[in-house]
Amino acid sequence: MTGAIPSGTRINLESSVVLLIDDNRMSLDILNSAFMGFGVRDRLRVDSVDEAKRTLKSRNVDLVVVEAGMPEDSAFAFMRWLRHEAAEPVCYTPVVMVLGHTTHSGVTRARDAGANFVVAKPISAGTLLSRVIWIARGRRAFLKGDSFAGPDRRFHNLGIPAGIDGRRAEDLGMDLGGPVDPNLSQSEVDMMMKPMKVEL
């Protein structure tokens, strides 16, 4: 239910401020109840992006959750404003976009608009919380340019395709070839990073 979040992980969202944006009152109530359950005391609920912008200008917000399917594409207009026009550090505010009818193109569009994560409706509490924890744990770089502003979309570090020169200083332009050994298990990787005593 909570994805790859290890059992026993603890979280304290009591002092976090979450801004919830949805034009559908019922959906907003349900979203609000989820964050209430997560222990968030300060839940700011708005039903329009204009109100959301006003809120972000006057309050420190730790997380924005926005319904992507609001009328006149306003959620995407909001994302453009937040990522490209809002002042620092507001422009870096993590955003979870909620998609009703989830299509591949919808997810791509949300990602390209600068969303940190996309959650498909119907929302489950486990999925929603795991995305919040991924954001809390992650150290994704934030890219800011004319054509794109948002969390690095290549956060899996898959690198650039072979034979293509990257545009970033840290991009490696060479073909590394295929693997010659089987993949290491996570515990093998852990042992390489932080050797531990084992019982023989």
């Binding site: 239910m1 909570t2 979040i5 059992s7 026993g8 992980t9 603890r10 979280i11 304290n12 969202l13 976090s16 559908n24 019922m26 959906s27 109530d29 349900i30 109840s33 989820a34 964050f35 209430m36 359950g37 997560f38 222990g39 420190n60 730790d62 997380l63 399917g69 550090p89 870096y92 993590p94 009703g100 009818h101 299509t103 409706k121 119907p122 929302i123 489950s124 509490a125 486990g126 929603l128 919380l129 919040v132 924890i133 954001i135 809390a136 744990r137 150290r139 770089a141 934030f142 890219l143 800011k144 340019g145 794109f148 690095d152 545009r167 970033r168």
Partner: protein, 146 residues
């Protein structure tokens, strides 16, 4: 392109020993969300009724985007509580989306979906081999629709 590593306050939430376990947080949130089921089903039933009314004889051309909106409402709200109803409504969303591209919607295919929504609404809301077979049937209907 500028690369920034912003400091997020959310990072600190995982380090707080006074926090609650993830399992506890999910359980609390799920119960809070379930408290809205009664209210949500009032909206869901109204959406299904509207779809049924639109499919009735003599109602003129069906508007794919109106069908999509009503079906999406069912996905949004019913999905939390009854997964099969959500899957059936998602299938109707797919049908409506296909129709938006082709310009016309198959009234018969919409009617089949609406009757299925009503049938699933009368069932216990849990997934079973029967509900899976019903949903597979809807997927086949959408695949055949132009």
């Amino acid at each position: 392109m500028r690369r920034v590593y912003p400091k997020l306050r959310l990072h600190n939430t995982l380090r707080d020993p006074l926090g609650i376990s993830v399992e506890q947080a999910v359980q609390r949130a799920t119960s809070e969300m379930e408290a809205f089921s009664g209210e949500a089903f009032v909206v869901v039933d109204a959406a299904i009724a509207k779809l049924r009314e639109m499919c009735a004889p003599g109602q003129g051309e069906l508007d794919p985007s109106t069908v999509f909106d009503q079906a999406e409402l069912v996905v949004d709200l019913a999905g939390l509580y009854t997964p099969p109803l959500c899957l059936a409504a998602q299938s109707l969303c797919n049908l409506a989306q296909k129709a938006m591209q082709s310009g016309s919607i198959d009234r018969g295919a919409v009617s089949v979906h609406v009757e299925t929504l009503l049938l699933l609404r009368s069932m216990d809301g849990k997934e079973s081999p029967t509900t899976r077979a019903i949903i597979d049937g809807l997927v086949a209907v959408v695949a055949k629709a132009r």
